[in-house]
């Protein structure tokens, strides 16, 4: 057990922890005491645990640096979850927290030696090593992979619940600091509905933790007013992740994802501490001003015992005073400004605190944690002096948190005067206020927030636009405020100075990369991997631009920035996926099928019965008696209007104008390249009503395809309605089909009254149905379309009626065999992305003499040249041998087997008791029935023979009985 009270202070005003309760969790096996409201990192800091992780490349010890979720230094593994930010994650009882990237332990990490060899691992060293011998690379790679990477995935991670919620709001305010709160109130006062998002448990932004704590100020009022305002909804603990076109935002709270469409967005996202580059600048114990203040005020934890504060602004002095008030001994304040530029600040310190004007830090010193700092003057070349201490507070400036502004396509430029990247031109409907926009005096933040709120309301037409004089005045006020950021990003030194903590990239690495030619910011980023780690550039991007500018002799503005890519903060796949609904379509008879022994299969979005136990017996039932199959999955489209035949003529290769009412025709649809897309039958129900079926898998796509053409100029006087789910459909097939159907209707079903390829409206068992006499199976058959609601009833009546005739349900597999016996093709199986209908043995359907239709030009070409390949039937020389679908047809040559075709369909035919199939062959070969060729099966060549026409009932007599 750790001494958990070592760093915990007396209760602090505004702290988030509930001291009345305590619990424990473990870190690297040791128990840590925490209070509700603690994060993992605050509890560890209270217990004096300063090293939390090890770095990516050199495995250097790292600890809490920013306490704001912006750096990569506190990543830990929590149970199953890798790469958790300890400073942002609430501690929970019995949590199992482990350091990452360490072996065997945080203290004794076996890989830490890599740091000693760092001179052999300059930037881009991967590119320069392990080249020879080439055969060794896989081994090296395996080692490299093991060294790299952070957390581990537990393969047994249990499932969890996630959900998503859509929000619509007039104004979305991102950030609940002073600027965000006042913006929200100002917009709401103009009548806008406002949603305010803040990643922290309470609004308040930097006012929640800034030192010294205000006795009371405008903040509590503002937060309470916002909470109370009926027009404002506050979303605490909600991180806005991204901003896409048209103010489309995403945000996360716990396991919930919000998707937000906002009329206007106000980014009041604040700013975060900017690191200073110096020797050992990431030694545990180096903490940003923000981290020191947060630990102290939010969690009542001393960030250290003996502090050296490094600053370039008055804020650093306030922090020093606050630390001192909390019992931390401030041993030194190091300010890079001359005393003359500072506000009235120095008197706040205790007498023995040393004050250094025009000085800066040169190095952090210590073995594994800060033991002191080297301090040196800026203007003189003297030896640095060592000052002992266990905490180095870096407070030299801020980086505006402008990631979302970049995503929103704001033009952001470097402001030399303020030494910050500030918004220059905002897109319409996007506003920025507060520290992200360069305000940092409290009054300015509030004023800018109010202004942005009113501007957003004005943008939405809810209020008059604020006068431009007000805008100008505010800009003046901002410019007159004291400077908070130093233009200095680094101080020279002789040891490792990390620019990027995620990937352990040093300033020397950057210099080397630039010398090697990677002298634009984008190339530099890619070569050095800077900004590509878990901090996503928050720590390193700004400093890199400065260094790149210096080494290339350009200005910071000329150097530009890299693209800010969403999401702003890493977000788990679970949250992004949500409930991940993968829809399943079931026909009205799904339950019936399952209850009657069907083996179900996935067919696109649908589930279908593959069989009812015995496909050959199902085939036999159809051939000899009668069978019934559920074909409700077919796409069903209704075309209405006098323009229907013109439209059909354009999208099918067939002709439609002369199809009489009551007749049905098989049609083939091609794309612009003349490639078969779909097939199905079309019936003309009346002069102006047509009914088209598509393949089951193609239904959605074909409907979209038709819509595309309808909306692209071919939509004259025709409407297409997708009624695929409105109607169920069954196929009643077999020599006894008519007899079965007759039992359910009085209508005349004889050939003369209802011939093959005709359609009739029939009342079956009292239900109005549409019946088409067509036949995919090759037997007398009726495709019955009825309202889905009546499907179950009609199906059962058909089975009842068929009982005496030996009816049997049949599934997809039997249907595949039946159709193959008839050599009917299945689009997508027997055809591929190159198959045209002429080559696919359907030349009879293609009417080249029509006016323009899709595929006409390429099909003319094929008709003229003759197909190169053709789809034909085949049988096997060796009976009983069924080649798998997909096998290749080859011709032996001296140079080895040459591919000449492939098998698309093959089955054993129970009716004919032989192997039958379809395949693609070179046209000359395909043209000779009986010609032999060879299929490659398991490396052996098996002989097959070309077959023309259907294998079963070639004349089609059985369809017409």
């Amino acid at each position: 057990m750790l001494n958990n009270a070592l760093y915990r202070l007396e209760p602090q005003a505004g702290e988030t922890i509930d001291r009345a309760q305590t619990f424990t969790f473990t870190f690297e096996g040791r128990a840590v005491i925490a209070h509700p409201g603690d994060t993992i990192a605050s509890a560890l800091a209270a217990a004096g645990v300063h090293v939390i992780s090890r770095s990516f490349k050199y495995h250097r010890p790292r600890g809490v640096m920013c306490m704001a979720g912006h750096c990569p230094n506190c990543l830990v593994q929590v149970g199953d979850e890798p790469n958790v930010r300890a400073c942002q994650t609430p501690a929970e009882p019995d949590m199992v927290v482990k350091p990452q990237n360490v072996w065997p332990s945080l203290k004794k990490d076996a890989m830490a030696f890599t740091g000693l060899f760092s001179r052999f691992m300059p930037v881009g060293f991967y590119y320069k090593t392990f080249i020879r011998p080439q055969a060794m690379w896989p081994l090296f790679e395996r080692i490299l992979r093991r060294i790299a990477g952070l957390g581990k995935v537990n393969p047994a991670t249990p499932p969890d619940r996630y959900d998503k919620q859509y929000l619509h709001t007039d104004v979305a305010v991102v950030g609940g600091g002073p600027a965000g709160l006042s913006a929200a109130l100002a917009a709401a006062e103009q009548g806008a509905t406002v949603s305010l998002f803040d990643e922290n448990p309470q609004p308040g932004g930097h006012w929640r933790y800034a030192l010294p704590a205000p006795d009371d100020g405008p903040l509590p009022d503002l937060a309470a007013q916002a909470e109370a305002h009926p027009g404002i909804t506050v979303y605490p603990e909600t991180t806005v992740l991204s901003c896409y076109e048209d103010n489309w935002l995403s945000a996360r709270r716990g396991n919930r994802l919000f998707k937000i469409r906002a009329g206007a967005v106000i980014f009041a996202t604040g700013a975060y501490d900017r690191p200073l580059i110096f020797d050992n600048d990431e030694l545990p114990g180096v903490r940003f001003g923000g981290a020191a203040q947060r630990l102290l005020r939010l969690y009542g934890v001393q960030p250290g015992k003996r502090a050296i504060v490094v600053t370039a602004n008055d804020g650093g002095w306030r922090i020093a005073a606050g630390l001192q008030a909390a019992g931390v001994s401030v041993v030194a304040v190091v300010d890079e400004r001359p005393e003359s530029e500072a506000g009235a600040v120095s008197h706040v310190l205790q007498a023995d605190a040393r004050v250094f004007w025009r000085h800066t830090i040169r190095a952090a010193r210590g073995a594994g944690a800060v033991e002191g700092a080297d301090i040196a003057p800026l203007d003189a070349q003297v030896r640095p002096q060592f000052i002992a201490g266990d905490l180095i507070v870096i407070n030299i400036g801020l980086t505006p948190a402008n990631g979302l502004l970049y995503q929103a396509q704001t033009k952001i430029s470097y402001n030399e005067d303020r030494a910050e990247f500030l918004p220059e031109t905002l897109p319409a409907g996007v506003f920025a206020a507060g520290r992200v926009a360069g305000s940092h005096a409290g009054a300015t933040e509030l004023a800018e927030g109010r202004l942005a709120g009113r501007q957003a309301a004005a943008f939405l037409g809810l209020a008059p636009a604020p006068p431009s004089a007000e805008i100008t005045a505010l800009a003046g006020q901002k410019a007159a405020g004291p400077k908070r950021s130093s233009a200095r990003v680094d101080v020279p030194g002789s040891q490792k100075r990390f620019v990027c903590f995620c990937e352990d990239v040093t300033d020397k690495d950057l210099e080397t990369a630039i010398a090697e030619g990677f002298d634009s910011i984008e190339l530099l980023k890619r070569y050095s991997t800077i900004s590509m780690g878990p901090c996503q550039g928050k720590m390193c991007a700004a400093n890199t631009i400065h260094l790149c500018a210096r080494h290339t002799g350009q200005s910071v503005a000329q150097t530009g920035t890299t693209t800010a890519r969403p999401p702003l903060a890493p977000v788990s796949l679970g949250v992004l996926a949500g409930q991940n609904m993968e829809p399943v379509k079931r026909t009205a008879l799904d339950a019936w099928h399952r209850a009657n022994g069907a083996g179900m299969m996935v067919a696109g979005l649908w589930m279908r019965p593959e069989h009812y136990g015995n496909p050959p017996a199902e085939v036999q039932a159809v051939r000899e008696r009668v069978g019934l199959i559920d074909v409700s999955t077919l796409g069903k489209l209704q075309l209405t209007g006098p323009g229907a035949p013109d439209f059909l003529d354009r999208i099918y290769v067939n002709k439609w104008q002369k199809l009489g009412v009551g007749r049905v025709r098989y049609g083939v649809m091609c794309n612009d390249e003349g490639v078969v897309m779909n097939d199905g039958v079309t019936a003309r129900l009346s002069e102006t009503t047509w009914y088209t079926t598509t393949t089951s898998s193609g239904a959605g796509a074909i409907f979209e395809w038709m819509q595309w053409w309808l909306q692209s100029g071919w939509g004259g006087e025709v409407h297409v309605t997708n009624i695929s789910e409105v109607n169920a459909a069954f196929n009643l097939a077999g020599p006894r089909a008519r007899a079965v159907l007759q039992k359910l209707t009085d209508a005349d079903l004889l050939n003369e009254a209802f011939p093959y390829m005709h359609v009739r409206h029939l009342t079956l068992a009292g239900v109005a149905c549409m019946v088409m006499r067509i036949g995919f199976t090759g037997e007398l058959s009726y495709e019955i379309h009825c309202p889905t609601g009546a499907a179950h009833y009609v199906w059962e009546r058909l089975l009842d009626a068929g009982r005496d005739f030996g009816i049997a349900p049949f599934g997809v597999e039997a249907q595949r065999i039946l159709r193959l016996e008839k050599a009917h093709i299945i689009v997508g199986q027997d055809t591929d992305a190159l198959s045209d209908p002429i080559s696919a043995d359907m030349a009879w359907a293609v009417k080249l003499d029509k006016a323009d239709f899709l595929g006409q030009r390429p099909l003319r070409q094929v008709a003229q040249d003759g197909p190169a390949q053709r789809l034909v039937g085949f049988t096997m020389a060796r009976p009983g041998l069924v080649p798998d679908e997909g096998l290749q047809i080859v011709r032996p040559t001296a140079a080895g087997p040459e591919i000449i075709g492939w098998v698309t369909s093959s089955r054993h035919s129970p009716t004919l008791n032989q192997t039958i199939g379809l395949c693609w062959l070179p046209a000359p070969l395909a043209g000779q029935p009986g010609a032999t060729f060879t299929i490659r099966m398991n490396g052996k060549l098996e002989e097959a023979r070309v077959h023309h026409g259907p294998f079963y009932d070639p004349q089609g007599d059985r369809l017409r009985i």
Binding site: P82, G149, P159, R565, N580, G886
Partner: protein, 411 residues
């Protein structure tokens, strides 16, 4: 450890630059528009194989700023058509030699490439591909869930997913590579052999006289050239238009993303055509994930939220244990899609104006071979056999290449 590194370690100086800026001349024998992998490789092979060094590569931003620096770096040759297989296989072989050839580790990692089949139709297609591949001497076979489980333990092979995995096409030589390294390697060695590389040099027009190309206009001035090669991928249509050439190309965004780095989790590349996703793990430990091309034409590279949502859902169908893993960055690139999912390489109706475009979502893996072939074409005027199937005139002749089935998600 390489000797150079040891030298660098103990010297105070910097390593030599990979490339140096050169002056922009007002004429070159060959102007290559586009500083992506294809352009740079063509320049390199022109210089190395044919001694043609009066060559300028013009790049509007920085090298690799297009698809070559945005792709997910999958390299494989298990295509569907014999012509495709032959072509990509040659490329994989050239990639295999690249680190040594450039003395620059491009980190070609032959992890094994698995395309999952979730339907019986997909199983049929995979079998077809495996057979075609094997007949071309490419290592590729259909495998079943037991073997799949050994190769990829975290994959959910149960029947819980909406589309349970039935089988996979296994292509052991398939791998990933460091895409930027390929671009830089070509750039460095092309420049070393005398090629001029001009970044931040956007081409704004192409001059054609009497059916023959005479030069290009750039933001930095006019350049004369008798041979101009368009290798601008996503912008191919725009550039061809400048020469008055129409290409059957529509540009659509393709998006990708990475997670935070993890310890080794996935040793193979997994592609699911039915779920429209694919995933691999980089040497740095990030999971690199992508999907099919956006379903509409656009030049926008902003990316969309629906992409990462859909991708995450499908990825968790395959790997439920990834639900805590965090996505860190998403991006988009532009893909120049042709109707038959195959490139367009060779001459156009304008004399001296050549194209090497239509690389869609799969052109990274082709960089070495297409660079080599285009260089040969430029140097000899003859179209090499390997790229004849990809000529522009195939669209008029109705002689398309049938790669849709193998190229649409697998890249």
């Amino acid at each position: 450890m390489s000797f150079k590194l040891i030298k660098q370690a103990f010297s105070s100086g910097q390593p030599p630059p990979m490339w140096k800026p050169q002056p922009l001349k007002d004429r070159y024998d060959v102007v290559i528009i586009g500083g992506g992998g294809h352009g740079l490789a063509t320049a390199y092979y022109l210089a190395r194989e044919h001694g043609i060094t009066d060559v300028a590569v013009l790049e509007k931003r920085y090298i690799g700023s297009g698809g070559s620096g945005r792709n997910t770096a999958i390299v494989r040759s298990n295509y569907l058509t014999p012509e495709g297989v032959r072509f990509y296989d040659e490329s994989v072989k050239l990639y295999g030699q690249m680190s040594e050839e450039f003395d620059f580790n491009v980190m070609f990692s032959r992890r094994g490439h698995l395309t999952l089949a979730h339907t019986d139709g997909a199983v049929r297609t995979m079998r077809r591909r495996a057979e075609v591949n094997r007949l071309q001497g490419v290592d590729s076979r259909l495998i079943w869930p037991d073997e799949l489980a050994r190769l990829c333990p975290p994959l959910d092979l149960s029947d819980h997913p909406r589309y349970p995995v039935q089988a996979a096409l296994y292509h052991p030589p398939g791998g990933i590579i460091r895409h930027d390294a390929v671009v830089w390697g070509y750039a460095r060695h092309a420049v070393r052999r005398g090629v001029h590389l001009h970044q931040l040099t956007e081409v704004t027009g192409i001059t054609v006289e009497k059916g023959k190309v005479t030069g290009v206009n750039t933001r930095r001035g006019r350049i004369k050239a008798g041979t101009v090669l368009n290798v601008t991928a996503g912008w191919a249509g725009v550039i061809a238009d400048m020469a008055g050439v129409k290409l059957p190309i529509a540009t659509s965004p393709l998006q990708a993303c990475v997670t935070e780095p993890l310890k080794p989790f996935l040793d193979v590349i997994i592609v699911s055509g039915s779920l429209h996703v694919y995933i691999s793990q980089s040497d740095r430990g990030e999971l690199v994930m992508g999907a099919a091309v956006d379903p509409f034409a656009s030049y926008s590279m902003r990316g969309s939220f629906s992409f990462i949502e859909g991708l995450a859902g499908h990825m968790l169908e395959l790997f439920p244990s990834l639900r805590h893993v965090r996505l860190m960055r998403q991006w988009a690139g532009l893909c120049d899609m042709t109707p038959d999912y195959s490139p367009i390489m060779g001459h156009t109706s304008v004399d001296g104006f050549l194209v090497d475009v239509g690389w869609g979502t799969y052109g990274f893996k082709a960089i070495p071979v297409s660079g080599k072939m285009m260089a040969q074409l430029i140097a000899t005027g003859q179209t090499p056999d390997l790229i004849r199937p990809f000529r522009l005139s195939r669209f008029e002749e109705h002689n398309l290449v049938g790669e849709k089935g193998a190229a649409s998600v697998g890249h």
